[in-house]
Structure formats: C-alpha cells, structure tokens
C-alpha cells in the first residue's frame, strides 16, 4: 500500500529548486524556463492520478504511511498513541484540489515571465510554496497538515514583500500577521485534539468524534467541541476570508505580483474552504449542523458586502479583490445549506473561482505589463487596440458573473439551490448578489474595454501574443469544460460528499 507517488508529487518542485543552484542568477531566460519546467512533474503526476481515478482505480492505492516520530513512551501500551506518522493520501476531493494547485502553479510559472528581478530567489520561493500547497491537500494528519500550511506562509511573505508593487512591504506584513494569527488558532485546536485523543490522524479523529465508542485519553465535552469548531471557523475564516477579517487579502490582491495573486486567489484562499469542509464539517459534523445557519448568514454578508464595495472601486485589482470576497460568500452559502446541492456547490465554487480568479489576474498582469496601470479610469476603449485581450477579459467577467456554460454558473446555481431548500428567505436576500455581481463586473470591464480610447499613447501597444495565450486558453477551456459538462468535477466528489452527508446525518 505504500507507494512513493504522492511523495514524488508533493516534493517534485524540490528537484527544480536544487537545479536552480546550478543556474547563474543573472540568467533570466533559463531561470524562467527552469522555474516553469519544475512545476511540470507535479502537473503530470496529478493528471496521471486523475486518469487513474477516472478509469476506476481505487485512490487509496496511492496512500503512504511511514512512522515518523512520537511523543512519550507509550508504544507498548498502544503503538498509535501520540504517534505522528508521515502519511499522505488523496480522495476525490483532495485530488481535485491537487489538480487545481498543480495546474495553477504551472500557469502562474508562465505568468512569472513578468517578474523583473532576482528570478532565482523568486522561483525558489515559488516552488517551495507549491510544495506547501500540495502537501496541505494530501496530508493525512493535522500535524503534517499544519507543517505544510506553515510552509506556504513563509515564501508567500517574501514573494509579496519583495516582488510586489509600491506598498508591498505593508501588504506582506499584513499577510503575515493575519495568517500568523490564523495559524496560532489552528495550532491550539490541533494541540487540544492531539492531547486529548492521542492522535492527529484525520480519519481517526473523524471516527472518534462522529462514531465514538473509543475510550479517550481525556474526554472532550460538548462545549469544548463547539469551542474547537468556532476556533477552526476563525482560523480558516481569516484564510478564506470571512468579513471582517478580509483587509489583509485586499492588500495582497493589489500589491502582490499577478502571478502570485493567481496562486493566492486560486489556491491559498481555498485552503480555508478546504479546511472548513475537511476538519470543520468532517470532524465536528453535529456541531457544524448547529451553526450552519450562522455560516449561511456570514456567506450572504460576504457576498453582498464584497459586491457592494466592488461596485465603487476605481482600480480593477480592487474590484477583483472584493469580488473574491463576494465569491467566497457563495462557498459559505453552500456550506451553510448543509445539503448535497449546497456542499457540492461550495466545492464547485472553490474550483471555479480558483480558475476564474487566476484567469482574470493573469489578464491584469497582461495589462499591467503593457499600460503600467490597472485603474479603470486610466484605461478605456481598449477593445479598439487590443480586441483579443478585451475579448478574453469580457469572457473572464462573464465567467465570474456566472454565465451558464461556464463553471461559475454551476457552482452558484448549486449553492443557491441548496440554500433555497433550507432558508429560502435568506437565499432570496443573497440572490441580490447575482444582480450586483453583473453590475460591478460589467462596470469595470466595459469601463476598460468599451467607449472611447482614452489615450493616444496606447497606439502601437501590442496585442496578447505567443506564450501569453497558453494560460488564458487553458483556463478558459477548463472553465467552459466544467460549465458545459460538470460531471467531470462532480464524479470524483461523490464519495467524499457521501461521507460528509453520512457524518451530518442528512
């Protein structure tokens, strides 16, 4: 049962990092090429896993579990007690997250062509970040999860702080403080669980909490369970982010280089959703059911708050930042609905928003490279000089506002379908967000592309070209693919969903 495939998957970027040492740090071209190539093995392995899964292979075949370290000397008493193993595995849900991560990492590596300096350090950190993300989604115990979670923080801090725009340092610190806080809360939760149950294995914890019948090292009372769940909600809520913990991510969206925002909006925010589903819903299903309504309310607040603020932003990056908050509201709405439609919608939204945000931020990069600005009022009439880029931008906006035939529609639809069953009035209020989303996206995108060309100096600026097409076409292809035939995403999720529903007892 032990195979090294997942280990290879998670640590494959390490090979690229080692090879980086051999390339001189001024050799821009080769560093960028190597950076890109280093993300390819992980992509190939995750594609291989998806194909294996699609052709009927049991994913548990790829699990790995090796003794790592243990606390105390209880081996003779119970070999599993207080042991921390090195254990990786994938199920349908994490497979999808891994695939999303590896695809976006490769595309972001392409988008890193706009990085202007110190490529060696940049790609080292970039690859380390990828290891962290892949590890987060495959780790099978909380301690390993936490280690990978922390691995994502450090490179992110430097990537923002060094390669970002004007106020990059402030953004980097803001990122670090908030996420540090989130980590601290998470660590407390993990430690309490570990100390009281003697295990940090997710499956084992799930079993202990939902089935029971296991004599615990120290019992966990019901109030404690609620406290732990709320702590988890806070920890992952900062990450997602949930209002009012969102200010750090606005700064990151605006100040970090576009390639990093692709990763940040595409994958890192989704760790919050992943954590809520895996740990919040998975380990504390009964308690989660009790606070589901609050989560749905938070979701509607996020959705509308983000949408209203996106409406009056003057910088396209800010529009997208608030739009991310708004779209994460849909994840919460789906989770709060707590039925098949809602949870499936939430997971779809995680993937869908990952792809769409990556697409839009890549296009921000394309425009920033050419115009040096993403202010809506500085641009205008771009469709005249850059018809193809503008077309892509419009397609991205349409995807984001949930046009059918694109992934955003499926996820939005399912999340609302779920919530309308449980809380029709709340859902109807949330549905206002569907209108507002169209308003702010069209206002921003048409403001940049339609109307009169703002400045003559835009003449002669080149259209999107060459390798720049790759990320756009891949992302659009995936967005439309999921939108037209969502079964490619829903099939792998069914087993995970059934397990969750079983836990909730719905």
């Amino acid at each position: 049962m032990n195979t090294i495939l997942l280990t290879l998957l998670v640590f494959s970027p390490l090979l690229g990092m080692l090879l980086m040492f051999l390339v001189p740090k001024t050799d821009e071209k080769n560093l960028k090429m190597l950076g890109f190539l280093s993300t390819v093995p992980a992509l190939l392995i995750s594609l291989y896993l998806y194909i294996q899964y699609a052709t009927g292979t049991d994913l548990s075949r790829f699990s790995i579990k090796v003794d790592w370290f243990r606390f105390g000397n209880l081996k003779s008493y119970d070999p599993n007690l207080f042991a921390v193993d090195y254990e990786l595995a994938v199920d349908g849900f994490s497979l999808i997250m891994v695939l999303l991560t590896s695809i976006l990492a490769t595309l972001a590596a392409i988008a890193s062509m706009y990085i202007k300096k110190e490529w060696k350090g940049y790609f080292m950190l970039f690859l380390l970040l990828e290891i962290g993300m892949l590890g987060v989604f495959t780790a099978q115990n909380l301690i390993l999860f936490f280690i990978f979670f922390e691995i994502t923080l450090i490179p992110m801090f430097f990537l923002i702080g060094k390669w970002g725009y004007l106020e990059k340092e402030k953004a980097a610190y803001s990122f670090l403080i908030y996420n540090g806080l989130s980590s601290a809360i998470l660590l407390i939760v993990i430690m309490i669980l570990f100390a009281r149950t003697g295990t940090s294995n997710i499956e084992a914890l799930r079993h202990i909490m939902t089935v029971g019948g296991v004599s615990l090292f120290a019992p966990i009372s019901d109030p404690m369970k609620y406290a732990l769940l709320i702590a988890l909600l806070a920890a992952f809520g900062i990450k997602l982010p949930i209002f009012p913990f969102h200010t750090w991510m606005l700064r990151v969206h605006v100040q970090a280089p576009p390639s990093i925002v692709m990763i940040h909006a595409g994958v890192l925010l989704k760790i919050g959703a992943f954590g809520l589903i895996r740990f919040g819903m998975g380990i504390f299903p009964e308690q989660f059911r009790d606070i589901a309504f609050i989560i749905a309310v938070l979701g509607v607040i996020n959705l509308l708050y983000g949408a209203f603020l996106a409406l009056i932003q003057t910088d396209f990056k800010m529009v997208l930042a608030y739009s991310s908050i708004s779209h994460m509201g849909i994840v919460l709405i789906g989770l709060g609905a707590l039925n098949e439609a809602g949870i499936q919608g939430a997971i779809f939204q995680v993937v869908s928003h990952g792809l769409i945000a990556a697409l839009l931020f890549f296009l921000v990069g394309v425009m920033h490279e050419r115009f040096g600005t993403s202010k809506i009022n500085d641009l205008g009439g771009l469709a005249k000089i850059l018809p193809v880029t503008s077309g892509f931008l419009l397609a991205g906006a349409m995807a984001s506002l949930g046009l059918p035939g694109m992934s955003g529609f499926v996820s939005e639809f399912m999340a609302f379908l779920g919530l309308f069953k449980e809380e029709p009035v709340l859902a109807a209020v949330g549905a206002l967000g569907i209108i507002l989303t169209a308003v702010y996206l069209l206002r921003a995108v048409l403001g940049m592309t339609f109307g009169k060309t703002k400045s003559m100096s835009f003449e002669g600026i080149s259209e999107i070209k060459g390798i720049e097409f790759a990320p756009v076409l891949v992302l659009l292809g995936l967005i439309v693919g999921i939108g037209v035939y969502p079964a490619i995403l829903s099939e792998p999720l069914q087993a995970t969903l059934e397990a969750i529903m079983l836990g909730i007892g719905g």
Binding site: T247, F308, A383, P404, A428, L442, F450, T453
Partner: protein, 624 residues
C-alpha cells in the same frame, strides 16, 4: 428528423466558433457566406422537423448532465408543437437577417465578428426553444441575453452603445434572478426541472396554491425582464444602439418573444393560479397602452418601433393572461414577421438617408420604390387592417380578453390598438410623404441582398395570418392544442362579431387621424405637442421612468456602497488598529518586565506555577 433535431442549434454554434477563430482570414464575403450557409442548414432542418412533427407525436430525448445527491439532472431536447413552430420562426428570421446584414453591414471591418455574434445568438435562441426542462431553458435564456449584450454593444466605441449594452444585461438579469428563484422553488416542490413532472405535480395538487402563485409570478418576473414589460422595459428602447438588423432579429422577432414563449411553455402552471393569470394579463395590458402612448411622440424611427415592440409584447402577455394561449403564440408569430419587416425596412431607410431622426426624413416614397410599399405592408399589418396577418392575431387577443371577462383590459387593448395605428402611420407619413427634409441628396434604394429578405417577410406579413382565421379554419390553434390535456380550453373562441368590427374601426380611425395630422396636415401638429405641453413632455421623456430609477434604485445602491466603504475603512479598519494597538501595548508591558532582576523573574515563575497548580487541582488536569 426529430431524432437529429439537436443538430439545429449546433450549426450556428459551429459558425460562431469558426468565425471567432478564423474570421479574419475569411474576410468579409467569406464570413457572411459562412454564417448564411450554417443558418440555412438550421432552417432547413427546422422545417423538416416541423413537417415531421405534423405526423409524429412529441419527441423527447435526454442524457444525464449532473448528479446532485439522489437527483439526476438531465439535458436533452423536446420537439412539441410549440417548439417546432418556434424553431422555424427563429431560424427563418435569423436566416433572413443574415442575408440582409450582408448588404447593411457592408464595409464594416468587424463583419466576421458580427456574423460570429449572430451565430452565437441564433445558437442560444434555438437551444432555448428546444429545452425540455426549466434548468436548460434558464441556461440558454442567459446565453441569449449574453448574445444580445454583445450585439447591442457591437459599436463598442460609442458611449451610448456601451451604456445600452450594460443596461440591457443588468435589467434583464434582474428579471432572471426572479426566474431563477422561481425555478429553484419549483424544484424543491416537484423534485425535478422537467416540464412534464411539474405539470403533473400542479395537476395532482401536490403543490400548495400559494406556492403555485408565487412560483408562477417569479417565473413571470423573468419574462417581464426579457420581454421588456413594465417596469423592466427601459432597456429595450436603448437596445436600439445595436445595428438595425440586430434590432430586427433580437429586439423585435426572437429574443424579446422568449418571455412570451416562457409563459406559454409554462402555461399549465400559470393557468392553475387565477392570481398569476391576472398579474400576467394586467402587466401585459398596461404595458401595451403605456408603451404605445410613448411611441406616439418619439422622434427616432427605431425608438418608435422599439416602443411598438414593447407594446405588442404586452398584447401577447395580455392574451396569455386571458387564457388565450393560441392567441398569444399566434400574435408572437405574426409579430415576428411584420416587426422584423418594419425594422429591416427602417434599416433600409436609415441606410439610404444616414439618419434615424424622423424630422430629417420625408418624401422618400418615390425614391425608395421597394422599401416604401414594404414598409406600408408592415404598417398595415401591425395596425390590424383587415386581411393582413396582424388583423387576425390581434382579433384573437381581443376576443380572448373579452371572453375571459377582462372587460377593462379589453378596452385598454382597444385604445392601444388605436394608438398603434396612429403612431405607425405617423411614422409612415413622416418618412415617406411630404417634402424631403433630408440633407442627403443621393438617396438610393437598397441592394437586392437587402430587399429580398424584406420581400419574403412582406409576403409572410400578409399571409401568415391565414393559418388561423375565424373564416377559413383555425388550423394553428387546433394543432397547437391537439392532444395536450393542459390546454384543452384555450383554443379558438367564438368571437362576438362586433369585436372584429370595433377593432377595424379603431385602427382605421388611428390611420385617419395620423393622415390628417401628418399626411395632408389638416390638423396642426402643434395641437399635439404645443397645447398639451405637459402631456407631451411626459410622453416624450417616457414618463421619466429612467430618471426615477436613477434617483431611487441606482442612487440607493450607490449610497449603500459608499456607506459600506466607510464601514470598511473606519469600523473594520478601526477594529484592526485597536487590535494592533492592544498587542503593541501588551508587548511594551512585557518588555518592561524584562528588567534583568532575577528576583522579579523568580516571583513571576512561582506565581505562574501556583496558578497552574490551582487549575490542575480544580479541573483534574483538563478544561471542559
């Protein structure tokens, strides 16, 4: 043919994708022929499908699309009478517009994109009318909206086009949210999006009466948005910023009729709720007269036609709300032909004189020898002059309203018919009679590629009424309701003879009045615009509806946004500053404790240990 009907929308989709990718290389002629050939294929397939449907029963085929829990959502096609008819109407008008556009849009360097968008729209519209379930309908419903958005914004460099495109998308989306909610609520009642299952559930009474009313009205909200009914009508006249052939196709003949189609397709649900039916009828009747009154004074040829469209769509809604299922669909079909004709003829006029301002036209009858008579045919048809198509369908609607007992609405519709005849002939006389006020000296008739589609539509505008007349037989009505248990009582009704006479009389009166004012000018125009200046101002400014929205909803939204931005900056921001300040001061206190005095450290360590021991003693080691 019905088994392969799923190909019908795919032809224009292929055309769209192909033109998007290779349009530039195909050049102007290549891309227009590409579009025409593929639409022609759709049309031929639709005709065969319709012929097939005459003999065979309704065909339905589905495949699995998405699983949600235990529910399998499906995608597929359904060919029933209504769908088959709509397929032919849509593909025919689309084909004619494709041909016409070759002349009208000649010389536009973005012609391949134009044809690509036309293909996309046609694909979406055909997909919409074939959908066997509400979810799929919604899917294409939105795509149709996107196609319309792209085409309204085709001249993207014009500020007006940008605004109009945005407005169209947003206004219809407001309606769409209603539709979406209605669909979802119905789903949780029935457990399915399928039409059949919904109708069965409605009939078996497993849905409460309130729920039927609520969902029907929510679905109707979607139709209100798409079909430009009051109060969501304001986008439709602005949509005239798009190229004129687009106005003919989308904003007259097909897409705006989708709302009517939706209500017709969901008719068994609507007819189960008296309240919902009344809402539909009243909205339709009100819109019919409301828009017609605005149309009386507009100065832009396309805007008059746009308000006329809004008004005629109101007629169709009135028909459906008065249980005139056949009347509504019949008028939808005849209207598609004569309104498309009117728009294309108007396009031909604009093409000739390069203005849309009625004040700058006149005396074009002699110069536009083909367009003029065709425009007259369209005008006669829409005015409900006997023997033309509009006469029969309008008569059906008036009959339905009367027979259903909506006498008030009947009189409203009759007055609206008078208005219609008046503003249409006002348009006709201002454009074609009198002296030329145009700056343009060289006025040419349009090329054959433009006149041919107009001639075909002209013939249809005259003849299409004869499929359902009280004199020769109600073929359409019989066929549409045949074998459909839900529509048993909605076919043709025996009309009191005086309705037909009254309808003819009001339309002739409208014509006469228009003639007296704009034809031989016996009555001064000032009498209309000058004397009742308040009325005129209100009408000319479309009852200030746009302004009202601007100062209410738009302003409110902006105000909320600004308010929240202050919340974001000061309350959320302030909270964060407070937290940082607390942490900082804690840090300062902590650093003050680092005094280097071992005694102090010892005291603190001892104190800490004491607290831990106390906790241990009280709780036995663990909290909670």
């Amino acid at each position: 043919m019905m088994e392969s009907a799923w190909l019908i929308p795919l032809f224009p989709l292929v055309s769209f994708l192909f033109l998007l990718l290779f349009g530039k290389r195909l050049k102007e002629a290549g891309s227009s022929y590409m579009g025409m050939v593929f639409t022609f294929a759709s049309f031929v397939w639709s005709v065969f499908t319709l012929l097939d449907r005459f003999q065979a029963p309704t065909y339905k085929s589905e495949v699995s699309w998405l699983t949600i829990g235990d529910v399998q959502l499906t995608a597929g096609i359904e060919i029933n009478q209504l769908n088959a008819l709509m397929l032919v109407v849509v593909s025919l008008v689309s084909l004619l517009i494709h041909i016409y556009s070759k002349g009208y849009m000649q010389g536009d360097e973005r012609l391949p994109i134009y044809y690509a968008y036309l293909g996309f729209f046609t694909f979406a519209m055909l997909g919409l009318v074939m959908a066997p379930n509400l979810l799929q309908l919604y899917f294409f419903w939105e795509l149709v909206g996107a196609g319309s958005f792209l085409l309204i914004g085709f001249y993207f460099y014009k500020e007006e086009a940008k605004r109009a495109a945005k407005k169209a998308f947003i206004m219809t989306r407001i309606g769409d949210v209603g539709l979406l909610i209605g669909i979802i609520l119905l789903f949780w009642q029935v457990g399915s999006f399928e039409y059949d299952k919904i109708f069965q559930a409605v009939q078996s009474g497993s849905i409460s009466a309130e729920m039927i009313t609520l969902t029907a009205i929510l679905i109707f909200v979607g139709a209100v948005g798409k079909s430009g009914q009051f109060p969501l009508h304001t986008w439709l006249p602005d949509a005239m910023e798009g190229p004129t052939p687009v106005s003919a196709l989308i904003h007259a003949a097909t897409m705006v009729a989708a709302g009517v189609y939706l209500v017709a397709a969901m008719f068994p649900l609507f007819s189960a709720s008296e309240t919902a039916m009344t809402v539909v009828a009243v909205t339709g009747g009100f819109t019919a007269i409301f828009a017609a009154s605005i149309g009386l004074v507009q100065k832009d040829i396309k805007r008059v036609l746009a308000y006329s469209t809004v008004s005629q769509l109101g007629y169709m809604m009135l028909a459906l709300g008065s249980a005139g299922y056949v009347a509504g669909i019949f008028h939808l079909m005849t209207h598609a032909f004569f309104k498309a004709l009117l728009f294309l003829a108007a396009g031909s006029v604009i093409h000739a004189v390069h203005t849309q301002d009625l004040e700058q036209m006149g005396g074009l009858w002699k110069k536009l020898k083909i367009t003029g008579p065709l425009f007259l045919i369209g005008t006669l048809a829409i005015s409900g002059v006997p023997l033309l198509s509009g006469f029969f369908s309008k008569d059906e609607i008036l009959t339905a309203a009367w027979e259903h007992g909506n006498h008030g609405l009947f009189w409203v519709a009759l007055i609206a018919a008078f208005f219609t005849a008046f503003y249409m002939f006002r348009l006709f006389f201002m454009v074609f009679t009198g002296e030329s006020r145009s700056q343009q000296t060289k006025v040419h008739e349009a090329p054959a590629v433009m006149t041919l589609p107009m001639v075909i539509l002209g013939i249809l505008a005259i003849l299409s009424g004869y499929v359902n007349t009280p004199w020769f037989g109600t073929f359409l009505g019989d066929w549409l309701t045949e074998g459909n248990e839900y529509l048993a009582a909605t076919g043709h009704m025996e009309a009191p003879g005086w309705i037909m006479i009254a309808a003819t009389a009001v339309s002739l009166a409208g014509m006469l009045l228009a003639y007296l004012i704009y034809g031989n000018r016996r009555i001064s125009r000032e009498g209309l615009s000058g004397a009742n200046s308040t009325v005129y101002t209100v009408l000319y400014n479309k009852y200030f509806i746009d302004e009202t929205y601007q100062f209410s909803i738009v302003a409110l939204t902006r105000w909320i946004s600004l308010f929240l931005s202050y919340v974001d900056r000061f309350i959320v921001g302030g909270l964060i500053s407070a937290v940082t300040a607390t942490v900082q001061s804690l840090g300062k206190i902590g650093s003050r404790l680092q005094s280097g005095q071992v005694q102090l450290y010892g005291t603190i360590a001892f104190f800490g240990l004491a607290v831990l021991m106390a906790i241990f003693a009280l709780t036995g080691g663990y909290f909670g």
